[in-house]
Symmetry: C2
Subunit: 206 residues, 2 copies
Amino acid sequence: MGMANTIGGHIDFWYDLSSSYSYPAAMRIEGLAAEAGIAVNWRPFLLGPIFKAQGWDTSPFNLQPAKGRYMWRDLERICAGFGLEFRKPDPFPQWSLAAARMALTDIVTPVRPEFTKRVFLAQFAEGKRIEDTAILSAIAADLGLDGELAVTQLRRPEIKEKLRAETDEAQRLGLFGAPSFVTPDGEIFWGNDRLEAALSWAARLD
Amino acid sequence: MGMANTIGGHIDFWYDLSSSYSYPAAMRIEGLAAEAGIAVNWRPFLLGPIFKAQGWDTSPFNLQPAKGRYMWRDLERICAGFGLEFRKPDPFPQWSLAAARMALTDIVTPVRPEFTKRVFLAQFAEGKRIEDTAILSAIAADLGLDGELAVTQLRRPEIKEKLRAETDEAQRLGLFGAPSFVTPDGEIFWGNDRLEAALSWAARLD
């Protein structure tokens, strides 16, 4: 990173808006990245097509019941440890396509981190269903945006194409789960529990 | 834990002797547990039958190539961070049945932690194959035991039955991967990266 002395390092934060462990990662990353002097690129993508390419039609947490039971208890403990509210979504996983598209719209992009955190809170703390565009529109409005315009924009062909391209890029990078953190030298760190390691790695590149 | 003031807490450390992330866990647990004042029960079991019950005929790291590539790089970074030697085993996973049985024999049981660490080092640092009973016998001999007797004992019906019972117990507890740590109140912590959390949890029960 030749410009490190002027702009510091950065990290790509890849997340699916229905991913359970992406919730604590999204809530924690800004504070930790600021401490480490690392900028964060928030990159929503879809895990569904990546799972489908492996022959899975739902989350591995549903396909493997013992692992799923563990994940919910683990997530509950993790959220309690970080002082984050937690309420298991029903159904799980939720349909994150519309939310991911909205995150990529021109209107939402400037506040994508805040929008992302609100979507995760709605889903994992407030019992809301994020496939509902009325919920998404209300989140945008809460952030001072034109909620109806955000819904209109998410349906544009270029936004659909952008999400497809991001998901293709995630697959090309070798991502297989979320959250994943990718440093400028191409190192992948998978999981909320690797966030600190990813930021340390990025900081060492400065 | 009513006897906490006299004997302190304990934790069950469940591992498969071919499990990649069980290697750093085995090398780290004694020091961390001693600091936390927690005793460790070393409980080898077999992941194979648990994977087979899910329809898998090998490690998920082989079934999902992107996840497997990630795991090897992640493990390499983790070992470097802890100052542990690392060399990717070939083949992977190795056949851990004989090693697990030997760990449960009367002769090896008193030194099971040291035996376990030697088996992991042979496999993940020294390029050896742990299905080879000559390797296992040499490890036992290095620990001051009668290596041939250890090989004879691992073939006894009661040892085979003991390993089956331990694997059944792991499945009954809801374990689906290794390493897993189980506290006396039944909390499960899965993965080398949950070792510290498991010990903290156990210490709070004192």
